[in-house]
Symmetry: C2
Subunit: 280 residues, 2 copies
């Protein structure tokens, strides 16, 4: 399929060169799956969109408006990935937010990415990125359009056997994957990195956290080192497109190191099933 795009409700494939989304990355986005013609977890995604728009002082397009546009795309492409972008809209030169700007809303339906079946069935190999995430509490957690850190981190590898890069912050805390959130199981506790200074707090991460008690797990959040991760019983990566992957191997950072490998897990298939069953 070729990507199909609606801009402010109309079929279009380009935006004004004066859109502040381009000029400053002044906007936010969501990525969600459409399966069998239905956008998955759309209410949770819209709630997150409202929060993220609020962080930038943007008006969020209404649920009803976006819902109708999503439905239009889903009819054309019953199984796809939809990216929703909301920018501050067209503005003149200069950082000041134009008070009368009308947010631009963009919906792009694109094909589902194709990953090796092993990524889902056996687990993935990840490596630690050199780039360190900066602490910016004002933007932390928000999925905004300023994503150069992710772009630069993603440039660090081209080996298709590496499914994802792990991002640490400037203090050495593990935060997330480049395109995914991170969860670490240790005993009966599911640990998620604190995302109040950097990182993106994704919808699938939140869904997994809400499933934890049903799996007999308690939740913890905080600052975790790479040693903590290496020492974890299981490491999971999630986002709205992949669902959840189990990390099977962490590539060695230094030649002297051994890669850390995690054996098959009894719990992980249960989590995946639970997560999948809840896809309406």
């Amino acid at each position: 399929m070729k990507p199909t795009t609606l801009i402010n409700g109309l079929p279009a494939d380009s935006v004004s060169v004066q859109d502040r989304g381009l000029a400053y990355g002044d906007g936010v986005f969501r990525t969600l799956r459409v399966a069998h013609g239905k956008p998955l977890h759309w209410q949770a995604h819209h709630a997150k969109l409202v929060d993220d728009c609020a962080a930038l002082g943007l008006d969020t397009p209404s649920f009803a408006l976006l819902d109708a546009e999503l439905a239009q795309l889903a009819r054309q492409h019953p199984d796809c990935v939809v990216k929703i972008i909301v920018t501050r809209g067209v503005g003149e030169r200069g950082y000041a937010s134009p008070p009368s700007a009308i947010p631009t809303r963009i919906l792009i339906a694109a094909p589902l990415p194709v990953y090796p079946a092993d990524f889902f069935d056996v687990g993935v190999t990840v490596q630690v990125c050199v780039l360190r995430l900066a602490h910016q509490p004002r933007l932390a957690g928000v999925k905004h359009l300023n994503r150069l850190e992710n772009v630069l981190a993603r440039q660090e590898w081209s080996d298709p056997a590496i499914a994802e890069g792990l991002l640490l912050d400037a203090k050495g805390n593990v935060i997330s994957g480049v395109m995914s959130n991170l969860l670490m199981l240790k005993g009966d506790t599911l640990h998620t990195p604190d995302l109040s200074r950097c990182g993106v707090a994704g919808v699938t991460r939140q869904r997994i956290m809400s499933l934890a008690s049903g799996l007999g797990l308690s939740l913890a959040s905080g600052n975790y080192s790479l040693d903590f991760l290496r020492d974890a019983d299981e490491v999971w990566l999630c986002n709205s497109v992949i669902g959840v992957w189990r990390v099977a191997e962490l590539a060695a950072e230094l030649a002297a190191q051994h890669p850390r490998r995690w054996p098959e897990s009894a719990l992980f298939p249960r989590l995946r099933k639970l997560l999948h069953d809840l896809d309406p």
Copy 2:
């Protein structure tokens, strides 16, 4: 005048919705003045564009190519501001930089902004922004398209009497204005904040630094607190559009404080004249 735009050399006013400049802020930009049909300090701007593109792993459009396109805009608008944007170009969904992407180059000619004459003649009033710049050494100094910090900082005031906001980093070091670079004079030394962890190293800042010795000043760069700035003999703000402004007043941060006011300066008019005379 209405903005006039060339995209990849052709008149156009929109970019592909799949341009990575929009998706991730994956690109850089320059803002320069055109006066009497001539782009000012264009060689220095192109050199900075080369550096900034290299920081993101982007190919820079050649001097000759951009020069010809600038000349085309300058014939139409002999006195204007030109913004040059270079993005990674169109790419599919996902952070990985497409190896075959062709950078998008965008030139936008816009009217010169109108500032009160007092800003140039008497000096400006500035206030300290609450937002603190994050430390990201990989992006520091580079004028990239990830400018949400500047956007959020610029939202902090709407009083037109405030010409600019001062940005500090998370450690409390003064770094720059929201849209300008900062220089502080103390005795015979011109101090410029270290920009290796945040901020943008602009062309006009560099020009002023190279003029310092002609004004009998030595140069220093480092970490400076707000107290150091308040204690400076003079504070200057510069960019390629405004040239240089003298800070006449720093608004009090706390009700208990007094604003810091700087009296007229003997040196500043000399600097302005020198900077202006060197505009070819």
